[in-house]
Amino acid sequence: MFFQQMINGLTIGSTYALVAIGFSMVFGVLELTNFANGSFYILGAYLTLTFMNAMRGNFYVAFAISIIGTGLVGALMDRLTLRPMRKKGAPGIAAVIATIGFSEIINNFALVFFGTETKPFPNIFKVGKIRLGGAIITYLQIIIFVVALVLMLVLSLMVYKTKVGKAMRATAQNTSAARLMGINVNHIITLTFFIGTLLAAVAGTLVAMYVESVSVGLASAISMKTFAAAVLGGVGSLPGAMVGGILLGLVETIVAGYISSGYRDAIAFIILILVLIFRPAGLFGQKTQAKV
């Protein structure tokens, strides 16, 4: 039973981690709390479903179009709303409100186009499972975990080893110095939004398949939870976002399994608050450095 809960928690936690990474990357570069991730998450799931239906079940192509399309919507959100605000030196809170606004717009469009009811989502990997010491691991769970792990690995390599990744970190640490190096900061920001949003769309699609449904109502809960996961790990830290996401998933599933699924979210957030009382910067966070 415990082992089974751990596996379920790891599965859902790794999808939280994906969204939290995107959140943390954007936060790192702009110090912006992006509340639109939950909407990109459901948008990714809806678009995959729509393209899949349009292409008679070709999941892979539908998935690719969906995550790239959603990524572009994320980049567009920055271009249309956030960049003009930055240009005018708007206070940070204005940008946060803009992400909430953009999120509501997506949710509203989703309600109109995809309907208010929960949509069934096909699980195309319902092909088998492995029994391991009394627990059952489905192929889909393995796929979700592996996809999340590979994406985290690829992203870490990109951020820490490539030129564009270093430029992202440089921009995050000191934007005006980055400009003086010749880094086109606007391109870096657009790319960061694209990647962050794409990750949310990947997670949204995988979870929709896992729970075999998608609904607009998920959006705000996902935004809050992945925000919490990123804070738990230490905002701005990629390893922190990964660990924070996985921990949140584990805690949630274990609480739901052993106590009651009704208390799931409450207890997850109680633990979050407790961690923050003792480690205000999160598990992997460093004391915040003032930006020069």
Partner: protein, 237 residues
């Protein structure tokens, strides 16, 4: 036509006019210094030349092209690089990565490689510290890194904003020796300094800035001898 020429430059922050029509010239191979007290507009001038701030009016002519209002990355790719006030190294990137970012605009790998060799020969300490996060360096080392990082773009004009700020006198001497050495290798230098005496000592020419206007112009020597400059900026030596 001068190598770098600023004509009647105006810069405003909202309603505040920080720079009110300054003009200056830098010839190829020169060391030119801007001195002035706090708030005179030295850093604003440098940031505007570097493309961080857009001027309200005026021209910045570099090799006969007006680059006023061009964005910082474009200015760097044209050959003008600023080492900003307060060093501003990337604290969590390693020394090596900081230098690598300095060469961000350089396409030719041979130029890049030469840049690293030059940086490590001018600043041997940076080689020793190359894998250390820049935030863990001492103030003097960070200043050396900031200068080395700016040099990585292989600039024709190197602008240095207060390279001696907050450093011990013995280190300041090192920094000024290095500036002379860099200039000797053919790089034109535009310097902003509060340490007017040392700066004018290595300068071909200098400009004195006061509340957004240029009030004195002269060779380094002339300005050092001028009573007004002596009293106001050299502590009445």
């Amino acid at each position: 036509m001068a190598f770098l020429e600023v004509k009647d430059l105006h810069v405003s922050y909202g309603a505040i006019k920080a720079i009110q029509g300054i003009s200056l010239k830098v010839e190829k191979g020169e060391v030119v210094t801007l001195i002035g007290s706090n708030g005179a507009g030295k850093t604003t001038t440098m940031n505007t030349l570097a493309g961080l701030i857009k001027p309200a009016a005026g021209q910045i002519l570099f090799k006969e092209e007006n680059i006023a209002g061009h964005d910082a990355p474009d200015v760097v790719s044209r050959g003008i690089t600023l080492s900003p006030e307060g060093r501003q190294v990337f604290p969590k990137l390693s020394v090596w990565e900081n230098l690598d970012m300095g060469a961000y605009s350089v396409k030719d790998p041979a130029v890049r490689k030469r840049g690293f060799e030059q940086a490590f020969s001018l600043f041997p300490i940076l080689k020793e510290r190359s894998s250390q996060p820049a935030g863990t360096l001492s103030g003097g080392e960070q200043q050396m890194l900031a200068v080395a990082r700016a040099l990585m773009s292989d600039p024709e004009v190197l602008m240095l904003d207060e390279p001696s700020l907050g450093l011990a006198p013995i280190i300041i001497q090192d920094i000024f020796n290095l500036i002379k050495k860099i200039n000797g290798m053919g790089t034109t230098i535009l310097l902003v300094e509060q340490n007017a005496k040392m700066a004018l000592g290595i300068s071909d020419r200098g400009y004195v800035l006061e509340t957004g206007r240029i009030v004195h112009v002269g060779t380094g020597e002339e300005l050092m001898k001028s009573d007004e400059v002596k009293n106001a900026y050299l502590g009445g030596i």
